[in-house]
């Protein structure tokens, strides 16, 4: 183990090299990649779902998710499974995710496709960052815009869980008996 706190780095010229860029914890995975992770080797057919008002009401009622579902983001895998993309917006995070449902109706897996945490919803004290303004970043410790190693209090994934609940309601109402 080797730990160098930021305060020690500030003493070194290297400090300029580790200034964060616009930094957010985020992840970005495309539709095809998510499909192959959840159903490796399968081919997919777009299968947009038509939802009646009654069905949409039921999905809202049983899941507490309010945002409308975008019905064109449904695919059928060659083996009869379902691949569905949805988004949830929490107080602190936006998550776009894919849900894979097996032909027997059980959940095969969930893969987060996009994840962005929000910051600055209260007044920001960016004094630390200001020290590095105007200094360029061109060093071995090149920072990506993406922060992999973000430590902090645990952020609940309840919003995503609610989203999955809603999609499973939709599966029962509209997909289960589809030809």
């Amino acid at each position: 183990m080797n730990w160098t706190p930021a305060s020690a780095l500030l003493m070194l010229p290297m400090a300029a090299l580790v200034a964060p860029t616009l930094a957010h914890a985020r992840i970005n995975i495309g539709t095809e990649e998510a499909q192959q992770r959840l159903f490796p080797g399968q081919k997919f057919t777009p299968s947009p779902v038509f939802l009646t008002e009654v069905q949409r009401d039921k999905m809202r009622e049983l899941s507490s998710v309010r945002e409308p579902f975008k019905s064109e983001r449904v695919w059928r895998s060659a083996n009869g499974g379902w691949f569905i993309i949805d988004e949830v917006l929490g107080k602190h995070e936006m998550v776009k995710y894919a849900l894979a449902i097996l032909p027997n109706g059980s959940i095969k897996g969930i893969e987060v496709m996009e994840y962005v945490e929000s910051y600055g919803y209260e007044v920001a004290d960016d004094a630390w960052r200001q020290q590095f303004v105007g200094k360029t970043i061109d060093a071995p410790l090149k920072l990506k815009q993406d922060i992999q190693n973000l430590s902090g209090a645990t952020l609940s994934c309840k919003h995503l869980t609610d989203g999955v609940k809603r999609l499973m309601v939709m599966y029962e109402l509209a997909l289960k008996n589809a030809k």
Binding site: N2, L9, V18, I110, N149, S151, T154
Partner: protein
Amino acid sequence: MNAMRPLLGTYVRISVHGAPAALCAKAMDAAFDAITLVQTHMSAFNPDSDLGRIRRLAHLEPITVHPWTQDVIELAQAVHAQSEGLFDPGVAPQLAGWGLLPDGLSEAAASITQLSVNHGQVTSTAPCHIDLGGIAKGFAVDRAIDALQACGITSASVNAGGDLRVIGPTPEPIYLRQPRAAEPVFAGLLQDGACATSAIYFSQQAHAGQTISALVNPRSQQPLLCPDSFSVIAPLCAVADALTKVLALTRNTALPCFAHYNAQPFITAAT
């Protein structure tokens, strides 16, 4: 290659570098499987998990648990001893009473010291409701790192909702979540180690006219309400995770238990 899945009640992210894509994918699957296994056995939300069975039955008969559950209980007991009782998963009844854990039965305060573990069997001196939420996330991160390494991965990070561990030849920048600030705070560079942080900014809430949080002092049963972040760097994530509670409750970075575990604590003031 990056992947993120909802596990342990939070977003778990794994990043693997410097290996062919097929190997990365296989290793990440193995790592997520290890985390799922920890979740299955140590969930406080599932009455049939090892924890659920300990709570219901361990005072009546020996309960056979998964070897990892035994490992976590033994580590929790060791940290409890090293911290003179400041780390104790026995705060579960208080958390349940506040609605932060399921079914708030009125149970007496418990302690991890009530449990005896022997050859995969757990017994308890009294009904024992424990919550491993303060250590099992870190333990799951360590098991995921093991799984990656077993697949031949040498450079990776695993982050379970803020409790993380990195392996590899390059020091990795570590940031702290600061929800009130415009951006995360750069904390330092870490190579081959773990970082965990406890803070109340997501769990603080009102309950029956009282302000509560998910951090409870096992001695007073009172919630921690200080807005600062309490972080610990340590070789293992389970240890870092557990020691953040000790740091949060004492605000004392000079406690012998930190040196005992080769850990480096630091406090970040809320912005």
